[in-house]
Every structure is written in structure tokens, then in C-alpha cells.
Symmetry: D2
Amino acid sequence: MTHISTDNSQQFASDNYSGICPEAWAAMAEANQGHATAYGDDPWTQRASDLFRDLFETECEVFFAFNGTAANSLSLAALCQSYHSVICAQSAHVETDECGAPEFFSNGSKLLTAQTTDGKMTPAAIRTLATSRNDIHFPKPKAVTITQSTETGRVYSLDELSQLSATCRELKLHLHMDGARFANAVASIGCTPAEMTWKAGVEVLCFGGTKNGMAIGEAIVFFDHTLAQDFDYRCKQAGQLASKMRFLSSPWVGMLESGAWQRNAQHANACATRLRESISGITQGSIMYPTEANAVFLMSDEARLEQLRERGWRFYTFIGGSARFMFAWDTDLARVDQLAADIREIMA
Amino acid sequence: MTHISTDNSQQFASDNYSGICPEAWAAMAEANQGHATAYGDDPWTQRASDLFRDLFETECEVFFAFNGTAANSLSLAALCQSYHSVICAQSAHVETDECGAPEFFSNGSKLLTAQTTDGKMTPAAIRTLATSRNDIHFPKPKAVTITQSTETGRVYSLDELSQLSATCRELKLHLHMDGARFANAVASIGCTPAEMTWKAGVEVLCFGGTKNGMAIGEAIVFFDHTLAQDFDYRCKQAGQLASKMRFLSSPWVGMLESGAWQRNAQHANACATRLRESISGITQGSIMYPTEANAVFLMSDEARLEQLRERGWRFYTFIGGSARFMFAWDTDLARVDQLAADIREIMA
Amino acid sequence: MTHISTDNSQQFASDNYSGICPEAWAAMAEANQGHATAYGDDPWTQRASDLFRDLFETECEVFFAFNGTAANSLSLAALCQSYHSVICAQSAHVETDECGAPEFFSNGSKLLTAQTTDGKMTPAAIRTLATSRNDIHFPKPKAVTITQSTETGRVYSLDELSQLSATCRELKLHLHMDGARFANAVASIGCTPAEMTWKAGVEVLCFGGTKNGMAIGEAIVFFDHTLAQDFDYRCKQAGQLASKMRFLSSPWVGMLESGAWQRNAQHANACATRLRESISGITQGSIMYPTEANAVFLMSDEARLEQLRERGWRFYTFIGGSARFMFAWDTDLARVDQLAADIREIMA
Amino acid sequence: MTHISTDNSQQFASDNYSGICPEAWAAMAEANQGHATAYGDDPWTQRASDLFRDLFETECEVFFAFNGTAANSLSLAALCQSYHSVICAQSAHVETDECGAPEFFSNGSKLLTAQTTDGKMTPAAIRTLATSRNDIHFPKPKAVTITQSTETGRVYSLDELSQLSATCRELKLHLHMDGARFANAVASIGCTPAEMTWKAGVEVLCFGGTKNGMAIGEAIVFFDHTLAQDFDYRCKQAGQLASKMRFLSSPWVGMLESGAWQRNAQHANACATRLRESISGITQGSIMYPTEANAVFLMSDEARLEQLRERGWRFYTFIGGSARFMFAWDTDLARVDQLAADIREIMA
């Protein structure tokens, strides 16, 4: 095979830059023995689903989708009709980076966005959006989606989650959790997955596998069975049913059985903390938001950010001049330290 | 890891029962070294796209989708508006087994189906459906989709393709090829991929990787650039853009560079031929359709099919009592012979 | 105003060729006094809704849409998700003449069509379509729609309706009635509207006003309140909420209070019967289907149909050479007799 | 007929509270003579279309829809695919009062909204929204919609329109005009309809008939023929093709031939000016925005607005405490003076 040379120096622009972790890979390899029935009627898919039920300590319903775009959009579409609306933060991934996927899968549900200071929704913000209009000329609010951990690297506490869900119940809104980095949130708080979801009032969770160390794949977990009605048909019609499903489900077996899902997240979070602590003394820039999961946001002037780029670093920048650094399961500590040193030098 | 015992005796109910072939696996393993930029901006995706352009001997545009449902539905949606219609055979996979996905992705395009004797569309069938209505009370025909090889295991000849495309051009219809088993068709005819597609007038091809030996993934190949406009947005919005794209594209590098795509198909086709020849003498059943690709359809009475099942064989049955046997890249010849022997015994 | 000369000789190609009946017109004129609150919060809309509840002898929920395309498609969309399917006759208007509207409004629900001899669905046909597939690769049947009176001018008896609805209940399918010519069906049987709908198991009715003598407008009547949930939002989003609603609702007040809805239908039906009886003796053509509502279908050879056209008659022809004649509330008996005479002469 | 007593004292909450003007009514009455071919193949529809071509002094293509929700949403859907976006003011009716209709008809196109001080879009606002993102993770901007006159009662000058369209052309954005009150804008400026549309670079106009004095109906006028391709199918599928089309088109004949469209708008505008001038001296409230069309926005404290309500006045209030008064073709000057007197008394 032609050798494709890739620059193996790690970059922290996205936790999607990482590869497949050994536990997920090993499970795929084992699943790749012989034949298996297609479309999920195989032992790996059964096993993965059972492992989720064990993990969440409840008889939840589990579906596997290829990516987060689909997982979030399909589960929101299951909560809404086209003339309903979904409340979220203005910084929510479903609003900013899904190219209108929620609107597409739901055939038109509008996203109602709340300005937040740090990417976290509050009961008050939900209430304001849910009650500002109640006439048929505006889509009826039907669901709230929160991202855990948030796009700003923050984590909702269990208490905050309970307050959000209480507000949702009062206002008759479903509560959906975009858990593209759910593992990072669980690792951050140190609670159980059950405590962070159904015990706190979350009805549907999209549990991200890709950023957590898999090649591909998210799990959609319904804690309320009535919401999952015919959801298998919905996935199939929307192009999210894998024929060789075992290759989508077996990595989950590897991740969940081995505990890699948690170790990977702990490592990523620790790298973020390490960077933050290493650069806490900078004076020509500031660190935005508490660092609670696997992201560090660095605010500085454009000239200094450009110097960072010139030293070879890649990162996303956001309005106002913040640079985002995301860490993954495979982050090399030496490389984090190298980044920290460069930041310190430039922003001392 | 818990050992999951799978019955490794091969079944021929579907070519989706097979696993990942060594060449695809090796490429994924190599791609899993270090970090890579997300969303397709990586060397593997570039390389895979270039390999498709080499293979098709033209500057086609290439996109990668997770499965055939999405690949076919998205490409048809690119050819149609919601008030248009797509002409296909009544046995076409898009009509019979996609749970309304083409209608969903296009927001309503109707499929107009032609009764065929053997699953192959004809110029006359296209003409009849395309011209039977021309008023605004019925969706305007805009595209034709043909499956190559067909759901009945037949292969359109280059001459047939040219005639179909001439009819399409005359009637101002786009021509789409569902190539879930494109490799099997190419292997069957022994022509070049270019001859089977754009040289014969095909405008868009969905080239199936899953059945051909990959874990997941189809390539959408546009030979007419204007039809591909903003197709990357369409894929993204529809949940078909992989973040760690290299794991969707690298298997193609392995398949195309090594020639495995062709070898795999040749082997599968040869297995079908082997079965057919081995059972040609049966008297209590008959073989439907010429065996031109990797499928054999066996018509018999229900009692005899039940005897086959009792001997442990799994297969799909279709209306009228035909049993389908599909062969994959990894089919064990001994297992084919075992099946042939059982059929001969039961249907002698 | 420029005088627009229209050929006022009546044609019977469609009952849509007729104008607005005096009772509907008078109500519009009365409604056009002064100001009224918009979007249905006006006394005319309230009155029309109450009149429907009186007519159907039950607390049904009533919505007003602009035309039958929307009324049928929106109510079917309320019964289905995109991955569900709707069972109907192959001759059903929703299948043959709505340009894919049901698929558009539902975002992809497939219509499963039954071949029928005369346009009438049967319990057996429903059962066959509803049970032929039960896997997620095919849209799950969720509703049945029947047209009363049918596109072939037939009328389901109350007994037939009860049998259809019993089958639907058993198979967990909703039952929808396309009543574009509901009044003609009621007039034909001489039953009450309640007997023809909810008492026979119909859950949703689209009651056609346009063909019955109005300018524009259909009423969607839900007999099961849970199915009507948020349907007002659905109508609004789909462009079916009139701002000056009184002009959509007041004609219904005129029609229902005066009994015009029934008289109009009786007259139209009587005209069809008159034509049929007048031409019963023809030998060079035949009358298709029993004449139970306001349509007569005449089968003859193309040469004779062409002679009819040469004498100035306009009509739709269907596959196989049948000519359709539809009668409206304003049909001139002399003109019917003229048509009958021409048919007799040509087809004696 | 039951007498329905309506409170005939005019309210100015909406210009939709008005009825049908005599010219539109007379045309409907004349159209209601005898039979006419259905679905637009009638002389009234032909005549109305020709009158629009005369009015706009160009060979535009004209379609008739039932209401503004549909007219705007369908024409925007013709300019966009689902993964595109539409730029508009945050106060635009399509954003605030269509219950997600644009998203529904387009199957997901996102609206990108600009904060404006007075409801008017600017070249700078368009540029900012059109260029802030150019990656496939965000819907690609494809069209701009402006409301003329605006929801705030302002009117874009011809010069402003030309600048907006120049920006659109530069950025490859289509320019759509929501003309629910187009006549008011034309009357305000005193230009020709051509000058306000295609001569200024507008590609599609929705010309509102309802607020202008009709019962129902908007005209969609395409100045660029290629954008109108198959638009008749789009209307049909979306439930916007009237069977008795003459009743949707004939009022336009009455309005356009008689010049009522312009007189009605002039009268409505004059009433707004009259109110504004009458209350210009108030000190306990202020008038928002220049009064350029048929609306007056009055900002005051809630207590004073409540006093107005207690005197029987109905009006919409907007965030921040502004009360809107809209005038229609039939506004009674005495009633305007009565309102002015009450405002002066309360807010002196």
C-alpha cells in the first residue's frame, strides 16, 4: 500500500483528531471473526445494548447511530413534530455546527436559542423562551437540549440538572442531553451515569463514542420507553441503520466492558487541567470558563494567537479571540507541556 | 473481554453477513496511527478520492457516506425536487427495503415503479412511466435509478446501459446507478468501471463498499460536476459526514490500491456460479434468472425449502417461493458445496 | 372592468367547474360587513364549527383548510410519522392526483396501494397490505384512507364502513375518510353524517366544500380528540391558516344552516342518475360501475369518444377508454339531456 | 340564516380585520357566472396574470397562492435547498410569525437573522451574516428576504433596494421581497411597481392581496424565469393550487384593472399619517419609527396602554411596550380621529 505520511505531532484543535483506542480496536477485531447476521440481529449488538442497561442501571432502550449529527437530530425529531421547537443555548452544537440537521430531520422544528454567558442553560433561560410566545404563529416549545459537557468545556452539576429537569417537567418539555462528551462529564463529576441522566430527569441521552475513542458511532439511550416507539424505523429511514451492525456495536462492548470509556475521559480531562494549571500565570491572555472537562479556552489578542500558530499549533478560534484546545483519550502529556511552554512564553 | 460465541458456519442469506476483508482492515490499522484532521481534511480521504478518479479515468467528484440507504437517497435527492419522481423497477432496493428513505431525504419525491420480469429496467418501461402523465397533478419524472448488479442477480450489459441512458437523455431524465454490488457487475462483465458508468451515460454512481468487503461505507461518485454542487453540505446536514473520516476513507484506499475490490467480487461471483452449476440438475425446483453476479435464486415448493431450513440453512424467501443465496468475498467453497449437496439431495 | 367572456355552456369534465352556490355566496356577503378578528377568532368561524358539531351530533374538533390536497395530506400527516405508511386504493386521489402531497406533508410516508376492481377498498385488501411486511426495512402501516364517495362514483355502505373500521381497529390502523364528495355519499345513502363517520368507526373526515358549492375550502373533522393535538399549529405551519378566516368559514355557515350542502349533493346525484338512465340502452358502449353518487363512467371505443368531443363535449378519459362525467350542484338538466341524446346517437 | 352580530366598530390591531373591497367583490361576482375550467385554465386567471405583466412592465411569471405563509415559504424554498440559509431581519414575519413555515416548506433551511434597529436590512448586515461562516457545518447562505413595507411600517427607498441587491449579487444571494404590504410601499414612494422590484434587482416578489382588500390570496411574481422552473408543481404538491382558481384570480382582475390596489393602499397609508400627525404632541409616550406606510407604533408605559384598552381599543403590543396600529383600505377616518383623541387624552 502506498505509504501515506501523516504528521503525527498531536494537535488539539479537536478531540476528533484522535484515532481508535486499543479496547475499541480489539473488540472490532474480535467481531471480525466469521459471519454474523446483519442489521443488529447479532450477539455483539445484543451485548452492547445489555452493557448500556447495566451501566445505566435501568431497562433503557438503546440504538446505534453513525455520528452525533444524526444521533442528536433523530432523537430530537422523536420528541417533536415539525411545528414544535427545541430550546437550547446559542452556543449549542446543534445550533452552530450541524448545518441545519435538526431542522432537516424534524422537517422544520425551530431551535430557540438562549444567550448564555458560558454555554450553560438555566431554568430561567428555559422559562423565558418557553413562555414568551403561546400563539400558533410561533412553533410550540416541546423539548430542551443541553450539552454535557458543554461546548465551553463546562459540566452541569447533578443539582443543576435536577433543577433544569424540574423546570422542563413543569413546562411540559422533554429533556434531551447531547452527550458527545458525556464520558468527560461523568469523569469530571465522579457520579454514576444513572445519576447524571434518568435519576436527574434526563429522558434521552446521546452518548458519544467517537470522541471517547471509537472510530465512529454514538448510542442513543431512551430512558422513557414511550419516546422510543418505532425509533428503529426512524433510524432505518434516515440512513442510520448499519448493515454490518456488529462493527458499530462491538467497539462499545470493548469500551464498556474494559472501562476504557471512563479511563479515556479521565485522561482527556486531566490533560486539560494540566494545561490550565501550567498556564495559570499568564498575564497577556486569560483562561475563559472553569476547566471542568477536556477543553481549555484561551482568550488573547490576535497577534499572540498568530505567534502560537507560527509555532505550528492548530486550534479553532471563536468570536472575540478565544482559542480552543481539546484533549482526547490519546493525548501525549509531553505535547501538552510543549503547548503550555509556548503559551507561557508568548503570553507571559 | 467477555467471549461472544458466534456461529461461524457461514450462511448465505446476505452478503452483509461477511466481515471486513484483510486489505480494508490493514488500511484502517495503518490509518489508526496518530492524529489526523477531522471531517475529511486528511490524507487518507484525499488519497481515496484520487484513487476513484484513477479507477474511473475521469475527474469525478467523490463523497463518502455511511451506508447504501443514505448514499442512494442523498444522490437521488440531489437529482430531484420534492415534486419530482424517480423511475425504478418494482424490485428495486430503494422501493422495497429502504423504509421510505428516498421519500424522506427528498422530502416527498415519489418512486414510480415498473413491473419487470427479472428486475431489469428497459427503455420501454422508462418511456411508459415517464410519459404516462404530464400534468401538474402528478410528480414530474426527473430521474431513473437502476441497480447494477440487480436485486435479482442480473447484470446490465454495456449495450443495455447505453440504450437506457439514451432513453433518459431523450426524456430529460437523470440516470443514477445503485451500485451496492457494482464491483460484482464489473467483475461479471470484465469491462472497466468507466465503461460501465459515465462512458455508458450514467451520471451518478453509488459504489458499495460494505458488501464488497468493508465494515461500513459507500462512495457516491458524480460524473457530472454540476449535479454535485453543494453535495458536501447535503451530506453534512443529513448526518452522513464522519468526523474521523479517515476510517471511512482508508478502507477504500486498501481496497482500490490492492485490487481487492475486484478480487472480492470475482470470488463472490464464482461462488454463485459454482452453486448454480452444482445444482443445475435438480428436478424438484428451478433456478430463476441467469446467474450473472453473486446471487442464486432457487424456486421450489415450501416443503422442500423447509427441509433446507431444517438442515440449518438460512436464506430469504420471496413471494412465489424463491430462496435467495448471496455470496460474499469470504465465502468458503466447501460451505457452498455443502449447500449444493443439500439442495441436490432435497430437490433431486 | 374588462368583460371576460366565458363559454357558459356547462361541461361535465369536473364538478370543480361549477361556481359558488347562492347560500354560500350570501353568507360570504353577510360576513363581509365591517371588521372581524383575524385567524379564526371571529363569530363566523365559531358558528361554522358549532354547526359541524350539530351536524355530526358529537363534540368533534373542526379545522378549515383551503383545499383537499392540504386537508387530506395534513390529516394523514397527523396520523403518521415519516416512516409509516398509508394504505389506500390505487385509484385514490391522494395517490393519483396530489403530486406527492401526502409524502411531502408527512416528510416521506409511503402510500401502499391496493388494486381494486372498482375503487373500493376491502377488509381483505387492507389486511394483505398491512401484514405483508413487518420488518423495519419497509414503512410500517399506520393508517387507511378511503374516499367516500369513491373516485369511481361508488359509495361505501354503512355496513362496509363498519367492516373496514373493524379491520383497522384489529390491525391498529387509523381510519381516514377523504370526503371531497362526502355530501354526495350521505345524500346517496340517506343516512346521517354521524352514521357515515364516527358511528361507523371513521376517526378523521375531510369534508369537501369546494365541489359541494363553495369557492374554496374543506373542513377537517376529528372525531378522536387526541389525534387533533396541536393540529392548529400544523395547519398554520403548512400555510393553511387564513388570516381573514371568516371568508373560509362563513360559506359553511350558509351551506350547513340552509341545508344547501345536502340539496346540492342530491341534485348532483340526481343528474348522474338521469344521465345513466337516459343512456342505459346504448349498445356501442357500456356504463362502468353502479352510479351511486354524482359520476357516470362511460366505456366506449376511442372513435366514438372522439365524436362526442367533436360535438363539443369535454371530459376526462381514463386508461382503457372510459369517459367520466361529473355533475355539480348547478347542473342544468337540459344540458344533461343534451349530453344523453348525443351519447345515445353516437353509441346506439 | 342565523344573524351573527359582529361588533362593527373598527379596530386597528391588524389590517387583516378588514373585509373584501368592492372591486374585488364585484370581480368575484362576475367570475361566478356559469362554469369555468378548473386549476387555473380559465380566462380570469389568464387575465390576472396578464395584468401583472402589464403592471410590472415585463414578462414575469405569476402564481397564485392562498396566503402569505405559503407564498413566502414556497418562493424561498424555490431559491434554496434544505442545507442553505435565508438571511432576514430578526423582526421579519417569516421569522416571527410563520410557525416555522419556511423551514417546513424547504425541509430545513435555516433563517439567519440580523438585529436591526428599525426592521430594515442593510448591506452591512447582509454581508456580516453571509460571510461569518463558510464551512459545511453551517447552512450556506443562498437568499435574502426583505419585507416591503417592513413589519415596522417603514419603506425601503429605491436607492436602498439597489444597494441591497448589489450586495446580494456580489455575494451570490437571491433577493426575495415579502410584499404582504407591497401596495402600501408603492403608494408611499410613488414609484412604479417595476421600479420597486426587478429594476431594483428583486428576483421574486410575493404581492399581498389579502391585506390590500381581497378575501384571500397572494401573487408570487418571478422576474427571473429560471427560478420559476416547475414552480407550478411545487404549489400543487404543497396544497396551494385552487381547483376553482377563478375565485383566487378574479379579485386580482378587479383590483388591478380598477386601480383599487393603489387607492386602497393610499387610503391606509393616509390614515396612519393622520393618526401620527394627530398625536405628535403627546408627551407621555413616543412614536416609534418614521410612519411611511400604514402602521403607527406607539411606545408608552403599560399603565397608559392599559387605559387605552379600557376604552375599548384592541392592538398588538411588542416587547418593550410598543403598541401597533395598522390601517386598512376601509378605515373610517372618524374612527382614527377617535383613537387619536383617546391617545392624546391619555398621553398628553
